[in-house]
Amino acid sequence: MARVLVVDDDQALSEMLGIVLRAEGFDALFCDDGSKAQGIFNEAKPDLVLLDLMLPGIDGIEVCRKIRAESGVPIVMLTARGDTLDIVKGLESGADDYIVKPFKPKELVARIKARLRKEDAKSESLIIGDLSIDVIGHSVKRDGKDISLTPLEFDLLLALARKPWQVYTREQLLTDVWHYRNPADTRLVNVHIQRLRSKVEHDPENPEIVMTVRGVGYKAGP
């Protein structure tokens, strides 16, 4: 049973989220204060974090950054503002996905399940540029040294590496990696490609592994 940590200061919403999550078979934990989130996270070791951006104590973006510094656990932001700036800031601080209030319970559950879904791992080893990817071990190595990626970043790199001949559009990546069924915000892709590049590229300004194809999308490097 997957554990979901809900970090939100609105008690009614937290309770409602608990009801919905339990109905879907998740184990829900709660935290109503940003400053306590880190402690509860370390203690409970949840499989996923639902994080409200507006929190008393320290705000959601800071919480997100702190959790991300220690763990690759999927983080889904809850935001009441559709503002571009908030969403981009949240994604840049390490969130994997976001969902704008008010949302439908089904939509939320779908997002959570997509983030928790494990690929059917086959014993497979891929090479992309000077990186080697071990699919079962969920690890990426360069010259024998591990590069630490979040599960989402790993999935993104894996998708590109599996079909090095294919140029992925942002919409395709949203479908393949985020498992969105409807067209969604392509900024998700942009932000995460940037984060991925900052980890795997020698020089993120001149990428050699995750290449941009102008006007189309991205593809794996030669």
Binding site: D10, A12, L13, M16, L17, I19, V20, A23, M54, A80, R81, D83, T84, K101, P102, F103, K104, P105, K106, P183, G215
Partner: protein
């Protein structure tokens, strides 16, 4: 021709060129007139005094000649005619002196000249220095006659001069004509000097004037230009732009007024920005405060709705109503927030280069459920070049127009036409439903306006869709207009500039059909005329 246009352009553009050219033209005309009058007056004065002194001298010289002739002729042992003539000419030459005050021609009158009579002149003066007309007139008169002439010498020289002539009677022979030729070369020289100095003065004066005018224009225009530049920078948003004020003249007043205007604009813009910020903040807060409980309610409603089978009929229906109305409430809330964002000026564009046809196809695709339910096909024709637009907003506009068309289109195909010209692209969405009634085409964009209040409530529209669509178009510096006629369907036309946020005045596609279109056009032209009039009255 090309240079003429270039000049005309420069002429229209440059105030200093106009002033300098005008000054040049006017001063040249004035100086020329003054110079001509001056030279004329001076030279006629010089010539008049020379003339009167010459005539005085000539009259006494001629008297003396007559006396000499008479005296010589009546002496003892009457001398030959040539001696008489010689004596007279010599006497006159002595009288004229070494300075060459005048030269003498002593000629036989025309009627006796054929007889080989002696004629004399001094200093190689040619006989044709005196014209025939004067010669014949002198022969017939007994007075002094004079005229201007050109004195010609046998060695080829010639000088301007005054010739004074009178008849001399010689006994037994007849009338001789005596001509005294006064050279005017000195006077001519003086007049030449005066003429060239007047010319030099005139040119100097004109150039001096031009330099003065150029300097004055510059000193007046420089602050004006500076102010114009400052105004331009102010327009670009540099609200701190001011011009330096020096002195207390009109230009300083201009600079001062400009500065106070800039300060007042800056203050007002600051105030507006502050209000807009507050409004933005308020909208954002309201949004947040409303959305969190709404999320809870929405989830609760969904949970109830999912388990509605467990309730009795009416409770189950209540759960259903709760769920659908919350959805409607949500849409309404988000549209209200969107509208208030427009009102606060807080809406911004995120531009990308997009092909409109793709956007339309994508929008129709996303509406495929609705379109299938209404059994309404969408026919897309035409194409347009890629333009920069906020894809999310334009998609929203198109979704609104197409879903409206399918809702009111009575199942007939929706025609979407794309067109473009050099400045703009246009999309016309047309349904063939019952159509708008006259006068409704301007009302449809009003907030919460409904064509048929009784009907629309059931279809779930919020009444804000077209108002938001219009704002979205305006944000791109484009517009949406509508046309409809009973039985002919409804048309909505979205016009967008090809270069984002540049003003456009006409749409590449027509709105309406045939005569109605023309009527519509005339009406709007009239309306515009009316608007302009009322504006100018205010």
């Amino acid at each position: 021709m090309k240079y003429f246009y270039q000049f005309k352009q420069a002429w229209n553009k440059s105030l200093s060129l106009r002033i300098i050219a005008t000054t040049f033209a006017v001063s040249t005309v004035l100086v020329t007139i003054i110079g001509l009058v001056l030279v004329n007056r001076v030279s006629s004065g010089i010539l008049t005094s020379k003339e009167s002194s010459s005539i005085t001298e000539a009259s006494s010289a001629i008297n003396e000649a007559q006396r000499v002739v008479v005296a010589t002729d009546t002496g003892a042992g009457a001398p030959t005619l040539s001696v008489v003539v010689d004596t007279a000419v010599t006497a006159l030459a002595v009288r004229a002196g070494q300075s060459g005050l005048y030269d003498v021609l002593f000629l036989a009158s025309p009627e006796i000249s054929k007889q080989g009579l002696p004629e004399r002149g001094t200093n190689l003066v040619a006989e044709n220095s005196v014209n025939d007309e004067l010669k014949s007139r002198v022969a017939l008169t007994d007075k002094l006659l004079w005229s201007y002439t050109k004195i010609i010498y046998l060695d080829g020289r010639s000088v301007p001069g005054l010739v004074v002539g009178a008849p001399i009677k010689i006994n037994n022979v007849g009338t001789y004509s005596l001509f005294l030729l006064f050279p005017l070369d000195k006077e001519e020289e003086t007049i030449g000097i005066i003429r060239s100095s007047v010319l030099a003065t005139g040119i100097f004066l004109i150039f001096g004037l031009l330099i003065l005018v150029w300097y004055l224009t510059r000193s007046v225009l420089a602050p004006v230009r500076k102010t114009a530049n400052a105004a331009e920078r102010l327009r670009m948003g540099l609200l701190n732009e001011r011009v330096p004020v020096s002195g207390e003249d009109d230009l300083a007043k201009l600079a001062g007024s400009f500065n106070s205007m800039a300060a007042s604009i800056q203050q007002q813009i600051g105030q507006l920005e502050k209000m807009s910020r507050m409004q933005k903040r308020f909208v954002s807060d309201v949004s947040h405060e409303l959305r969190t409980p709404l999320t809870t309610v929405r989830m609760a409603a969904d949970v109830l709705y999912e388990s509605r089978d467990q309730y009795t009929g009416e409770t189950a229906r209540a759960a259903e109503l709760l769920s659908t109305q919350i959805e409607r409430f949500e849409i309404l809330l988000s549209q209200l927030l969107e509208i208030s964002r427009f009102d606060a000026g807080a809406a911004d564009l995120s531009l990308t280069n997009v092909n409109i046809k793709n956007v339309i196809e994508k929008t129709a695709e996303s509406l495929s459920n609705l379109l299938a339910r209404q059994e309404t096909p969408v026919v897309i024709t035409g194409h347009a070049p890629d333009i920069e637009m906020d894809q999310r907003r334009i998609e929203r506009v198109l979704r609104n127009l197409i879903s409206n068309a399918s809702e009111y289109g009575a199942g007939k195909p929706i025609e979407v036409e794309i067109g473009s010209d050099d400045d703009a692209i246009a999309i016309v969405v047309r349904d063939k439903g019952p159509g708008l009634k006259p006068g409704e085409s301007s009302l449809v964009f009003n907030r919460f306006w409904r064509a048929d209040p009784a009907r629309a409530r059931t279809t779930g529209g919020t009444g804000l869709g077209l108002a938001i669509a219009l704002e979205d178009a305006r944000l791109h510096s484009g517009w949406i207009d509508a046309w409809g006629a009973p039985g002919k369907g409804t048309m909505f036309r979205l016009t967008l500039p090809r270069v984002a946020q540049t003003a456009i005045t006409k749409s590449p596609l027509p709105l309406g059909t045939g005569e109605d279109e023309k009527l519509e056009f005339d009406m709007s032209a009239l309306q515009e005329l009316f608007n302009v009039d009322t504006k100018s009255e205010n």
